[in-house]
C-alpha cells in the first residue's frame, strides 16, 4: 500500500493533467490536520460526489468538528474524483486518499459515508473500489476499515445493506462518539470483526444489517424481519440530540470556486407542518430551535472566520421559527448594510414572507420563491399544504410590487389521485401569476416554474401509494409544455428516468444491493448528474437479477404490507402515518402540530429527552408524567 509521501509524489505528476486540480489537494483554510501517530482512531468522512458539491455539506462539517474536538481521534475528508481524475488515478495506481494527510482511505479505521440522497449509492461503491477496500461488507476483515453511513437516505438502508457494515440512523452528533469508543475498545481487545459489529449493534440508533434476516412472502413483499443475534435491536430507533449543539462556525474555505461558498447556520431542526409528501418533515421531528442570540453570534463568527459573502439561514420551514421576525431584524441590523447576500429559504407563502425578505435587506436579483407544490386547493388539501389560491396570488403581487421581477414557483406532478385538471391548474396558476406581475411591473415580470415528479418516500403518509408510470408522467409534462408558452415563463421539469431511479433506490429492499452493484460494475456512477445518465445500465441490471423494477415503483401497497424500512423507526409511528394517509384520501387537512399535538409518536419515544429539555427549545408539549408510565410505549 502506498504511504502519503508516495501518494503525494505520484499526484504531483498527474495533477496538472486534470481539470480543477485544486479539488484534489486539500490545504484549505480552517481544516484540521493532526499527527497521525498521536491518535487512536482515524476517521475519513466521505461525501460521495465531487469536491465542488461536498465541501459545503454542513452535516459532514458537524461530524468533522465533533471528531476533531477529541484528543484521541482525527477526522479527514474525501470526495469522489471526477471522471478525468478517476481515470488518471486508476492508470497510475493511486488509491483514493484523504485530503488532509494524503493517507489512502484503506489506512483509516472508520470510513463514514454521507448518504443524504439515493443517487450517491453507485459513487459510494466506486469510492470503496478506488480505495482498494472490498465493496461487500462480508468480504472485509479485521484489517479493513469499518464502513459506516448516515444521512436521510439511510432511513431505508436496505438497498445498501450489503456494502455498509453499520448505519447510523438519525442525528450523528452523539452517536459518532459512541461508535469511536466502541471501535477503540475493540481495537484494544483484539477481537474479531464480528465482535466489533456486535458491540456496534448495542449502540442505540446503530443498524448492523448483517444481524437481521429478511423473510419474503410469495408476492415478493416482506413477511417479517428477524434479528439473528440477541444484542441487535428491533426496531432500530433513530438517535436525536435533545438540544442542538453550537453550530459549526469554522467552515472550510476552498481555494477554488465551488458550488456554494457560504456560511450556513441551522436555525432549527424538524418541521411541524406535516406535508404528507415530505420525507424530511417526517423523519427529522421533533422541532428544536436555536436562540436568536446563538444564531446571530454564530453567523458573525463564521463570517469572520471565512470571509464568505453568502450567508444562509437553514431550516425546513423558516417562517415557522418562533422568533423569525426578531431574527431577521437582528440579522438585517447586524449584516444588512454590509456586502452580504443573506438567504432565508423555505418561507411560507404569505405576504409576511415578503416583509421578512425586505427586512433582511436582500438583493432582489435572485427571485422570490413560492412552493405551493400543487395548484388546486383540492390537491393542496390532499398533500396537507393548504394555502388558498388567493393567498398565492396576493403573495406574488406583494413580491412584484416590492421590487422582485422574477418569481420562482415549485410544483410537483404525480401526487396521489392527481387528474388532468390538477396538472392544467399548474399552468393556469403560473399564467395568473405572470398576469398579476405584468399589471404591476409590465414586461419585466417573469415566472420560473420548476415541476418535479413526486416519489412516495418511506416513512411518509404517502408510502402506500404508487408512482406515476412513465406514460402518465410524459402526458402530464406534455400538458405543461403545451400550456406554458409565454416567453416570460421558464419551465423546467425532472427527467422521467431520474424519477424512476430515485423511486427504485428509495423504495427498494435488500434485493436492490445486487442491482446497484451490477449497475456500478457496468458503468453507473454520478447518477445525480444529468449528463451521466446510464438508464439502460440500470434496466439491464434489473433484468440480470430477474427483478421487476415496476414492483418498486408502480404498485399501490397493501394496507397491511410490511415495508423494507419498517424496522427502522424515525420515532413517528406507522399507524400515525396510515391515519394521516386515510385523512388525505378524504381531503382532510391537519393543522401545524405546534397548535395541536396529533400524537405522531415522537413524544413517547423521546420522553426522557423532552423532560431534560423542558421549555420552548422543543415545540412538542411538555412531558410531565412520571418516567415509568411512558417508557413502555414504542412504535
Amino acid at each position: 500500500m502506498l504511504n502519503p509521501q508516495q501518494i503525494e509524489s505520484r499526484l504531483e505528476r498527474v495533477l496538472l493533467t486534470v481539470q480543477k486540480p485544486g479539488r484534489y489537494v486539500g490545504g484549505e483554510l480552517n481544516i484540521t490536520v493532526k499527527d497521525w501517530q498521536q491518535v487512536k482512531t482515524h476517521v475519513a468522512f466521505i461525501f460521495p460526489d465531487i469536491y465542488d458539491l461536498g465541501i459545503s455539506n454542513v452535516g459532514l462539517k458537524i461530524l468533522y468538528d465533533q471528531v476533531n474536538q477529541r484528543e484521541d481521534a482525527l477526522a479527514e475528508r474525501a470526495y469522489s474524483p471526477w471522471l478525468d481524475m478517476e481515470a488518471v488515478m486508476r492508470a497510475n495506481q493511486i488509491p483514493l486518499y484523504s485530503l488532509e494527510s494524503k493517507h489512502s482511505l484503506a489506512d483509516f479505521d472508520i470510513l463514514g459515508f454521507s448518504l443524504p440522497y439515493e443517487t450517491l449509492y453507485t459513487n459510494a461503491l466506486n469510492i470503496l473500489d478506488l480505495a482498494g477496500v472490498p465493496q461487500f461488507s462480508k468480504d472485509r476483515d479485521e484489517n479493513h476499515p469499518l464502513v459506516i453511513a448516515g444521512g436521510h437516505a439511510c432511513y431505508n438502508p436496505e438497498p445498501m445493506h450489503a456494502f455498509i457494515d453499520a448505519f447510523a440512523i438519525g442525528e450523528g452528533e452523539e452517536v459518532i462518539h459512541d461508535i469511536i469508543e466502541v471501535h477503540q475498545n475493540w481495537k484494544i481487545s483484539g477481537g474479531s470483526r464480528n465482535d466489533l459489529l456486535t458491540s456496534l449493534a448495542r449502540i442505540p440508533g446503530v443498524y448492523v444489517p448483517s444481524f437481521y434476516a429478511h423473510h419474503y412472502l410469495e408476492d415478493g413483499t416482506i413477511s417479517h424481519v428477524e434479528k439473528l443475534v440477541a444484542d441487535a435491536k428491533l426496531p432500530i430507533v433513530k438517535r436525536i440530540v435533545g438540544k442542538l449543539p453550537p453550530p459549526p462556525t469554522q467552515f472550510i474555505v476552498p481555494n477554488i470556486e465551488v458550488v456554494h461558498d457560504r456560511v450556513s447556520v441551522e436555525i432549527m431542526r424538524g418541521c411541524t407542518r406535516g406535508c404528507r409528501f415530505c420525507h424530511a418533515g417526517m423523519i427529522s421531528r421533533p422541532i428544536r430551535e436555536r436562540s436568536v442570540a446563538e444564531i446571530v453570534d454564530a453567523a458573525e463568527s463564521a463570517i469572520r472566520s471565512t470571509g464568505f459573502q453568502d450567508f444562509s439561514l437553514m431550516s425546513l420551514s423558516s417562517s415557522d421559527y418562533t422568533h423569525i421576525l426578531e431574527l431577521v431584524t437582528a440579522i438585517g441590523e447586524r449584516f444588512g448594510k454590509g456586502r452580504l447576500t443573506i438567504s432565508l429559504p423555505s418561507l411560507r407563502i404569505d405576504t409576511v414572507s415578503v416583509e421578512l425578505m425586505e427586512r433582511l435587506g436582500n438583493r432582489r436579483g435572485t427571485g422570490f420563491t413560492l412552493a405551493p407544490e400543487a395548484a388546486t386547493e383540492r390537491m393542496r388539501r390532499i398533500i396537507n399544504k393548504f394555502i388558498p389560491d388567493e393567498q398565492i396570488l396576493e403573495t406574488a403581487r406583494e413580491a412584484y410590487s416590492h421590487g422582485w421581477t422574477n418569481i420562482k414557483v415549485y410544483f410537483m406532478i404525480g401526487h396521489p389521485s392527481e387528474t388532468e385538471e390538477d396538472v392544467e391548474a399548474i399552468a393556469k396558476l403560473c399564467n395568473s401569476i405572470l398576469t398579476e406581475g405584468r399589471k404591476l411591473i409590465g414586461g419585466r415580470a417573469k415566472v420560473n416554474v420548476s415541476v418535479g415528479t413526486f416519489v412516495p418516500k418511506p416513512h411518509t403518509p404517502f408510502q402506500w401509494v404508487s408512482c406515476d408510470t412513465p406514460e402518465q408522467i410524459e402526458a402530464k409534462q406534455d400538458i405543461l409544455r403545451h400550456k406554458l408558452r409565454d416567453r416570460n415563463i421558464k419551465l423546467t421539469w425532472t427527467a422521467i428516468e431520474d424519477t424512476l431511479l430515485e423511486a427504485w433506490l428509495s423504495r427498494g429492499d435488500r434485493r436492490l444491493s445486487d442491482v446497484i452493484y451490477t449497475a456500478w460494475k457496468n458503468g453507473a456512477k454520478f447518477d445525480a448528474w444529468k449528463d451521466q445518465h446510464r438508464y439502460s445500465v440500470w434496466q439491464e441490471a434489473f433484468s440480470e437479477h430477474n427483478i421487476d423494477s415496476v414492483f418498486y415503483t408502480h404498485r399501490q401497497r397493501r394496507t397491511d404490507e410490511v415495508f423494507p424500512w419498517d424496522h427502522i423507526s424515525p420515532g413517528v409511528r406507522k399507524n400515525f402515518l396510515f391515519q394521516d394517509f386515510r385523512k388525505s384520501l378524504e381531503g382532510e387537512i391537519r393543522v401545524d402540530c405546534r397548535e395541536q399535538c396529533f400524537a405522531c409518536g415522537i413524544l413517547p419515544q423521546f420522553a426522557d429527552l423532552r423532560r431534560e429539555n423542558s421549555g420552548e427549545v422543543w415545540k412538542c408539549p411538555e412531558v410531565k408524567s412520571p418516567k415509568r408510565i411512558l417508557s413502555g410505549s414504542q412504535a
Partner: protein
C-alpha cells in the same frame, strides 16, 4: 491608500488559478477586517489587482498585488493582520505604500524570472547542448493556441543556465513578461522536449518597468 504587497504562493495553493487567487485575496482582506475600497457602479468590486497571472501549477516566490484601502492604516499592523488571515501557502513578505497615480500594476510588469526543477533524472550535457543551439538559432518558431510566434526574442538576456542543487537539476530563465510579449517557461520546456508535469516551476521574481 494604495498598498503593494509582495507575497509567495506555495504548497497546495499552486493548484489555485488566477481568478481563484483574486477571490482568496478578497476573503483574506475581509477576514483581516481591513477597509477595502470598492469600485463604483452597479456591481462594486473590491479594488485588488494582481500583477501577472501565475499559471496553474506554478509556485510563486515574489508575486505582487496592489490593494486599495478607504483610509490610511499602519503598514505593520496591516501586514500582521493579513498574514494571520491568509490561507496556508500564502505568505506576505513585504508591504509598501505607493503613489496612487501610478499606472496599473499589470502594465508595469516587464520580465519574469523562473526556476524549473526537473523531477526526473536528466542528461545535463544534452540539455546544455540543446540550450546553446536554441540561443544560437535565428528564430525559434512555435505555435500557441493556433498562432505562430517566435520564442527567441522573448528569451531575455542570456542568463539561461543549468545548475545543480541537491543532485536535482534546475533551469533558471528570465523571460519577457510585458502584456504584448509574454514568454512562457512551459514553451521553453517544450522546445527542450520536457513536459511541465515532470517539472516544478517557480516564478522567482517579477521585474517592473523602472524597477
Amino acid at each position: 491608500m494604495r498598498l503593494r504587497i509582495t507575497f509567495s504562493k506555495s504548497g497546495t495553493l499552486r493548484y489555485t488559478g488566477h481568478l481563484d487567487l483574486h477571490r482568496i485575496w478578497e476573503r483574506t482582506c475581509r477576514r483581516a477586517g481591513i477597509p477595502l475600497s470598492y469600485s463604483q457602479g452597479f456591481h462594486p468590486q473590491p479594488r485588488i489587482s494582481l500583477a501577472a497571472a501565475l499559471p496553474l501549477g506554478f509556485l510563486g516566490q515574489a508575486e505582487l498585488v496592489d490593494i486599495w484601502l478607504d483610509q490610511e492604516e499602519d503598514l505593520k499592523s496591516i501586514i500582521k493582520d493579513l498574514q494571520a488571515a491568509a490561507p496556508p501557502g500564502l505568505v506576505l513578505t513585504a508591504i509598501q505604500s505607493i503613489d496612487q497615480p501610478q499606472p496599473a500594476l499589470q502594465t508595469q510588469v516587464r520580465s519574469a524570472e523562473y526556476e524549473v526543477l526537473f523531477l526526473d533524472e536528466i542528461d545535463p550535457g544534452e540539455v546544455k547542448t540543446h540550450l546553446s543551439d536554441m540561443l544560437a538559432s535565428e528564430s525559434i518558431p512555435r505555435q500557441r493556441r493556433g498562432k505562430d510566434y517566435d520564442l527567441l526574442p522573448l528569451l531575455e538576456s542570456l542568463d539561461l543556465k543549468l545548475g545543480e542543487m541537491d543532485g536535482i537539476y534546475s533551469l533558471s530563465m528570465r523571460l519577457s513578461a510585458s502584456p504584448a510579449a509574454t514568454g512562457r517557461p512551459e514553451e521553453v520546456l517544450a522546445e527542450l522536449g520536457f513536459s511541465p508535469e515532470n517539472t516544478r516551476i517557480t516564478r522567482t521574481l517579477l521585474i517592473l518597468n523602472n524597477g
